[in-house]
Subunit: 311 residues, 2 copies
Amino acid sequence: MSLDKLIEKIVETQNPTVAGLDPRFDYVPSYIKDRAFAAYPNRLQAAAAAVWEYNKGLIDALYDIVPAIKPQAAYYELYSFYGMETLYKTIAYAREKGMYVITDGKRNDIGPTMEAYAAAHLGMTDLGGEKVAAFDADALTVNGYLGSDGIHPLLKVCREYDRGIFVLVKTSNPSSGELQDRLIDGEPVYLQMGRMCENWGKDLPGKYGYSGVGAVVGATYAEELTSLRSQLVHTFFLVPGYGAQGGGAQDAAGAFDRNGLGAVVNSSRGIICAYKKEGCDEHDYAAAARREALRMKQDLLSCIPQIRLPE
Amino acid sequence: MSLDKLIEKIVETQNPTVAGLDPRFDYVPSYIKDRAFAAYPNRLQAAAAAVWEYNKGLIDALYDIVPAIKPQAAYYELYSFYGMETLYKTIAYAREKGMYVITDGKRNDIGPTMEAYAAAHLGMTDLGGEKVAAFDADALTVNGYLGSDGIHPLLKVCREYDRGIFVLVKTSNPSSGELQDRLIDGEPVYLQMGRMCENWGKDLPGKYGYSGVGAVVGATYAEELTSLRSQLVHTFFLVPGYGAQGGGAQDAAGAFDRNGLGAVVNSSRGIICAYKKEGCDEHDYAAAARREALRMKQDLLSCIPQIRLPE
């Protein structure tokens, strides 16, 4: 019904971090690519196989210290249906290892089409009565531009399969304000969208005060983040923009409540490409990712209250 | 650089229709499903194979009278990566038959991630210098909530590979007004989004007055459609909501200019499930789709000026 599983995993690992698995081709170590391209004549298939090996190494290095991964769908679609198989395998493997999986697809549509997205990513595909999981993530990012018709089908699936969603509210990019900061009745669009999240969330209450309808709010807008935290008290935040996009732990800190909960902060390149920044041997990429994840954890913990379940 | 190819195809077929290939499982005739489920032990693979056969039959029956298809990504993701292979094959087959293909994915993201979506669906995937097409459609529907950072990467790919995009402006669903009708500086959000399309389109001018940046505007809002047509003179419209969603040819007519151009009207269920409405033998599904497409063509042509390229 909610994001409770994510919250419990954050408390267990004492780490409010999600590792963004955005496997750009140039992030994958050459030795992995060479092996894959020698094994598969089809180039997209080879690339997808390389990404799968890369992801598996990252998950093995992170699963006991990072509560969640967030694969970005674009970087799997990039390798066509072969890439989508890698997405499928990545989700299954991470969940098997106990991680919480947020598919970052920013999906959006209406009625039966949104039902299809919900079934595909969070629920089950109904094959004439027989039900089979297609991608089976714990949560999905979605875009609310189409209004409630685009969200209600998700809420139904979240209730049935105990899953969650994160709706785009205030994104981390420089031009996010072109629409999101414009005023409607004196309030910015992103705040109106945030209020819709609070409202949709009433259908998916959680044990720890946060509903199953979370919001994406960028770390690059620290003031808005703090203000939204105080106004959207039942809405858990997924916070992109830490690290590579310029947001720091201090900027992200406003997203957290007095129990050190209320948000999970994403780092993609920072973690999965740590070996390039460190300048270590590329064979050491997974260990470098773990070192960076531990550094980021300490960075965040130094800026937020101690993480604990609410009394 | 634009949607010129679509316009030329509409003039050639004298038909401003796009057939929405939204293959819900219960749309696929039983004889096709039975055959596929006997051939493949994996259920999702069987379903995806059935959808592929169904789509192929539809394309064979429509390609000489309908200018374009619009596969809806959700109904392919529904069958996991097997479904995405069917999407890939469907796009390739329709283009081989001379049809224009609009992938309805409503994708949205920023910067490098949006570049990945653009490469995946419209351009080429760069595998360390070697370029391979991942899905290779002519156009993609996108959501502009994130602002220009989400659109510029698409414009670049559209320019390089001569492709187009359709941005959600005013969607056909009942709750579309929750955000889209709200006023910003006295103008509804959808009009602001429409103006952004006009502006983005300046980068992708076309031969016939329409840019490569189209807009999705529902047939269910006839008044808004007519008003938008007069205000967004360089923006071609993709019009959902005809038929099953309640919009008629008269409602859609406002989307067209005095040359009978300016819009393409989508019908999904109406065409691909015509055999059910007709009550004919399911083996006749493709012929029924053709009959309905011809009926819809006449319906639209009776309400709009004669279709011709502008002088």
